[in-house]
């Protein structure tokens, strides 16, 4: 049974990698050029296919951490804690990807790597908040206490997601508004590559979750085994 699951995971990971290659091809080659004046701007625009999808996965991952936290506080079951931890770890890595890809886009688009704009600053704070989540987990020794603290922290930290999402609508930030804006944004002919990338990243997130969940379960089994030996 375990071997069958492992084979499935391997097949899914390979499939995910293929989807990623297709998404890169669509974003770099097939997607139409933006109607921007500068050549650099037209190239830079192609980052958004991955930048937004990465941010979406980050937000989704933090939402799952939020749900995992609620699930743990309600039931006390370890599986909810594992879900929350796995998702927070993946979300943090993807948020780092958002910050880096955004910065690489900002250099040709704005002429600087970073500005202390509301959206960018909130994204950085959000990333640090979830780094804090992971640090908190490693700082508490008792597993039950660690899971309880982390659940509460994960629920409270989720506030950063809606704040980050509405930041570009609430404040006049430099960050472009991709949807619902009259100027700029994505044209209808760019949507296929964009949604393909979004779907690929979501599938990739699910695969990563499976890997991470399995890892934590194996770690639990190891701890139980060690305990058995000590007893």
């Amino acid at each position: 049974m375990k071997q069958k699951k492992d084979t499935w995971l391997l097949v899914l990971t390979a499939l995910g990698a293929v989807l990623v290659m297709v998404a890169i091809y669509l974003a770099l080659v097939r997607a139409p050029e933006a109607s921007l004046n500068s050549e650099t701007g037209r190239y830079a625009q192609r980052i958004i296919y991955f930048h937004i999808a990465t941010a979406w996965v980050g937000f989704l991952a933090f939402f799952v951490t939020f749900i995992g936290g609620i699930g743990y506080l309600r039931t006390g079951e370890r599986k909810w804690d594992i879900i929350a931890l796995s998702s927070a770890e993946i979300g943090t890595v993807f948020m780092l990807g958002v910050l880096i890809s955004g910065s690489i886009w900002a250099k040709p688009a704005w002429g600087v790597w970073w500005v202390w704009d509301e959206r960018l600053t909130i994204s950085l704070i959000q990333f640090l908040v979830y780094v804090g989540y992971l640090m908190l987990r490693s700082a508490v020794e008792d597993p039950a206490r660690r899971a309880r603290f982390a659940a509460v922290y994960g629920i409270v930290a989720f506030i950063s997601v809606p704040i980050n999402f509405i930041a570009i609508r609430m404040w006049r930030t430099q960050h472009p508004l991709m949807f619902g804006s009259e100027e700029g944004g994505l044209g209808p002919n760019m949507m296929f590559a964009f949604f393909f990338s979004l779907t690929t990243f979501t599938v990739w997130y699910a695969i990563l979750m499976w890997h991470r969940f399995r890892l934590e379960q194996t770690r639990d089994n190891l701890e139980q085994l060690k305990q058995r030996i000590l007893d």
Binding site: V20, L28, V93, S101, K107, R214, L222, I229
Partner: protein, 57 residues
Amino acid sequence: MNFLVAAYAVLWAISFGLVFSMVWRQRKIESEMQTLHVLIDDQPRLVDDEPRAEQEW
């Protein structure tokens, strides 16, 4: 174009790096578990072996 390639390279290095780190950690834990299993499997045999040795004596 260079920064575009850099952006994608960084993103996918992070993403695939995460997968490889998980697989590596998984293998490490599994090998540790295997060692412990061998230890546990050997323990009762050692206990069993003692009376048998006595009987032979």
